[in-house]
Amino acid sequence: MDKKIGVYLCAGCQIGDSIEMEKLEKVATGEYKIPICKSHAAFCGDEGLALIRKDIESEGVNTLVIGACSSRAKTEVFNFGPDYIIERVNLREHVAWSQPPKNEDTQMLAEDYLRMGIVKAQKTLPPEPQQEDLDRSILVVGGGVTGMTSALEAALACFKINLVEKETLGGWKAKLHKVYPKSPPYKELEDPGVEALIKKVREEQNITIYEDTEIESIAGAPCKFEVKLKNGAQFKAGAIIQATGWKPYDASKLGHLGYGALPDVVTSVQLEEMAKNGRIARPSDGKAPSSVAFVQCAGSRDPEHLPYCSNVCCLTTLKQAAYIRGQGADIKIYIVYKDMRTPGLYEDFYRAIQDDPGVFLTKGVVKGVSPNRGGLLVDAEDTLLGESIRLKADMVVLAVGMAPRSADGPAIRALMDAHAVVAKNESETQVVEAKKKIETLKHHEGTSILHLEYRQGPDLPVLQYGFPDSHFICFPYETQRTGIYAAGAARAPMDSAQAAEDAAGAALKAIQCIEQTTRGFAAHPRTWDNTFPEFYLQRCTQCKRCTEECPFGVLNEDVKGTPLPNPTRCRSCAICMGACPERIVNFKNYSVDMIASMIKAIEAPEEDEEKPRILALFCENDAYPALDMAGERRIMIDPTIRVIPLRCLGSTNIVWIADALSKGIDGILLVGCKYGDDYQCHFIKGSELANRRMENVQETLQKLALERERVQLTQLSISDFEKLPQIMNEFAEKIKEMEPNPYKGF
């Protein structure tokens, strides 16, 4: 593209009161020799915009550097179409609103920002649209309530669905006798009503159903998935919804509650089966029970079993209590719980069952179940009756929790890699290590569900309890693989009402992915981004850092280990760009050279002027908006700091640190989103990777006889914007206390 740059400096919103506009213009016209550089009192108004448009039409300006408000403000105003490169320089929130006016340091800050903006515009290349044959159908894995609902919702939005179900349509709900009420007044049990849903799915023309079969393999990427089923069927898919549901916690691990040894101790699942078959009776002698004890949280909320709460067991027990009470007015039901969890309006259902005089509820800890002359004794401590109690019961029902039907993709891959090492038998120590790994991971053998042909693993990565989920507030229904969306009990323990909602959410996400991908844009969260990582593979050294560190498994590998990118899997975070030590990964509008040039454009005054310079790399997701918000509140920031927004802190390439230090910059502050178990990082582990890389950098700093504290990484969430000025100013103070960078002026 033949670039014609125009620089437009807005003096509105107190920018003109804060800095000398003429001096600023000189940076563009004098230092960078850009002929077209104009000022106006308000470029966002009709007059200002007309001025810009005139230059576009008559002067052929196609690259605009607009020094005005933050790039997050007035996006619809400063939008001239996809054919123009627009670079927004933040002179308002980051200069006029957070610095003292008409001040030498303020002026220097504004000038540095303009320099960086111009350099960025110079280095930006227009994106190249990618045209290819893209599939728009949706694969739904799992034919229960969740799978069927998401299929129907997407079908009604005119998408073609392929629904794959291991057995027959219906899922767990079809096995229930009755369900607890899902609508006011929440007093009566209802029929599950799955038949109606199944009928709708079978009659829907847009849905093709494959029953009694499973996935054989899925290769490719969003809008290019190639799906093979075990029964031989093959088709393409645009996006995938995993609605594989749940399985009950393995009660054989609950021997301390009598399961296994005592035949009349059953799980809630087994009780439901009895109810469905018409009669609840003791397995030992077939007699109807005159008293039944329910043990809640059996193997749940327990670090030895399932550490979490499964959300629906309390309601299920109340429902099953109603079943049994219906068999006789004098039957006694005991319910011993850790807490009675009936969220939201289900509280009314709890009240309805509570009102039954034959239902006895108490908090307590069940210590043991023992036989007693054909019956059972349940011992519980810490009860509301104020003492340890012993209850006589003809049957005991264990309310077991829900475990997801999912597979841990990275764990399976690690297991396969360990097997490969043992097979290769190259090094004694490696084989010993590998064998140890196999021991810890062998329970993942054969668990794969999606059989993805992804180098990072054949299934989705899972969170701490084995659920293939993401941070629900930030990234609802997303998983760590683009184009694959988990919904229903596979994602988190829930009942059928919540699962139906979940299904609709996942269907919407699948549709979002297809619509975005077919237009050439990233699915989420960078929905405006139509650039893709480009690999200059001639210089690749097969170090595999990009392959391993990509959070979304974009890169497969060839035999040698050279990365094979699948662009539609990509979310454009540029973590691969930050990882590569050879710097061969770049984007058209975001490259290693671009940011390095921006850093070199910063003016670092000589040592004797006593004006230190700090580079701040801010993730544009939470940190940059937080700084905008601080500016809106007119909170003052130290004038030595120059902020460069990054797509993700994980895209930080180490060479930028070296470039900054050799330029004479005294300190580098990185601010990004929270990582860890409760991560908020929009690209899952970007800030975590940056942190690890910075730890390595600090070692290098020490070797160069520079202080470790010159480079600092801070986690911040947007709700903590009030802390950000303090963090920045404290870092600036710390740097000022150190000696100036000895490499200044080289």
């Binding site: 004098d330 006694k332 009675m340 009240r351 509570q354 009102d355 039954d356 005089p357 034959g358 006895f360 509820l361 108490t362 908090k363 210590k367 011992d379 401590e381 509301l384 009756l385 104020g386 003492e387 340890s388 109690i389 012993r390 209850l391 006589k392």
Partner: protein, 396 residues
């Protein structure tokens, strides 16, 4: 696990409680707000939270022998604050009714007093007895002359009749009360400590006389005044009656003093006491009825058991005043009919005492005395232990 107790809920007991005013029982979810709010609940051994769950679990024995059930004065502060609408105040009222039934002897009498279908028989019985007594004394006709009730029922006959029945009632009441005490004191292995008992009884009686517990009600402040008036109305009428009996006896003597007269004219101070007491009784009773008829959360739920007592007292007081007025106006034969009704209501109040709500006067007093007694004994016990320890330390 030490001290594990086998729990076997009595489903019928629960159904009875639900039917006798405690129908909101099952709404309780044991938050404990009631025990915190209750001003009458002691610091340790609070109520009514535990009583609610014991009742929900049908632990009839445990509730029957629980003194806390009687420490409650049905302020309904707890019902006002209960977030579930479980109304512990009303549940405890139902539990008290159950406790009276539990200790009643013979037990069929308790059933009779609790069910409205037996009311005709309960009224017919005293009517029949009185008619029999009148027949035996040869007075089954309206006496002539100015109204003198002694002409219908001689003082001797009256006193023998009611005295004898009263004695029988006391015996049956005592069996219940003694069983109650033994149940309360079941943990005790050392026998009755009479000294401590007397020491405990004194502050209890003071509390009752001053109605200190009623003063602690916040939701239902009018209960204090209402019960105070009814209580002292009764006491006043009791004293008046005692004076009357005394005068009657004196008048049997050969040379009674001139100022001893029976029946008394209206301007006499003894009569004044009686009438003032009747007024207090009516005022108090009206307040009680008004409280029971209001519809906000502080109102008590009233069952047949409650209304029966209120009605009998009302009829008693009303007929008593009318009987007096009819004597002054010499309204024959109406006066004697009303007097007959008056005697029937006296019977229903006093002779049915152990089985009706009126039994609360003895059960509550005994429970309150027991609560103080048990605390005093515990303190004594602790002191004894300390003495023994000190002695041992000195020796060792």
């Amino acid at each position: 696990m030490a001290d594990i107790k086998l729990i076997e809920p009595d489903l019928n007991f629960i159904r009875e409680v639900l039917a006798s005013g405690g129908d909101s029982l099952k709404k309780c979810f044991q938050c404990g707000t009631c025990s915190v709010v209750c001003n009458l609940s002691p610091e340790k051994n609070t109520f009514p939270r535990r009583e609610m769950i014991w009742t929900q679990w049908g632990l009839k024995e445990r509730v029957a022998r629980d003194p806390n059930v009687w420490l409650c004065h049905q302020c309904n502060d707890c019902s006002q604050y209960c977030p579930r609408g479980a109304r512990p105040g009303d549940v405890l009222a139902a539990l008290r009714a159950q406790a009276i039934r539990n200790y009643a002897f013979p037990s069929f009498m308790a059933t009779a007093l609790a069910d409205p279908k037996y009311l005709p028989i309960l009224m017919a019985f005293p009517v029949g007895l009185l008619l029999l007594a009148l027949h035996l004394t040869g007075k089954l006709h309206i006496p002539e002359g100015p109204v003198h009730y002694a002409n219908m029922f001689s003082h001797l006959a009256l006193n023998l009749f009611f005295g004898g029945l009263f004695f029988v009632m006391l015996m049956t009441l005592l069996t219940g009360v003694v069983r109650f005490w033994l149940d309360l004191d079941r943990e005790n292995r050392r026998g009755l400590d009479v000294v401590t008992l007397v020491k405990a009884a004194i502050p209890t009686i003071t509390d009752i006389l001053l109605h200190r517990k009623f003063q602690k009600c916040e939701a239902n402040k009018s209960r204090y005044l209402a019960h105070l008036l009814v209580f002292y109305g009764f006491v006043g009428l009791l004293i008046t009656t005692a004076i009357a009996v005394f005068y009657i006896l004196i008048m049997e003597l050969p040379n009674p003093p001139a100022w001893v007269v029976y029946p008394l004219p209206w301007y006499r101070p003894e009569k004044f006491l009686g009438n003032a007491s009747a007024l207090a009784l009516f005022t108090g009773l009206s307040l009680m009825i008004a409280n029971r008829l209001k519809s906000d959360a502080t109102a008590s739920k009233s069952s047949y058991f409650d209304w029966l007592l209120i009605t009998v007292i009302g009829v008693l007081g009303l007929t008593g005043v009318i009987v007096e007025l009819l004597r002054y106006s010499n309204a024959v034969p109406v006066a004697y009919y009303v007097y007959f009704v008056h005697l029937v209501s006296v019977f229903m109040l006093l002779i049915y005492l152990p089985y009706s709500k009126f039994a609360h006067l003895i059960y509550r007093a005994v429970a309150m005395i027991y609560a103080n007694y048990a605390e005093a004994k515990a303190t004594v016990f602790v002191k004894e232990v300390e003495n023994v320890a000190r002695a041992a330390a000195l020796e060792g």
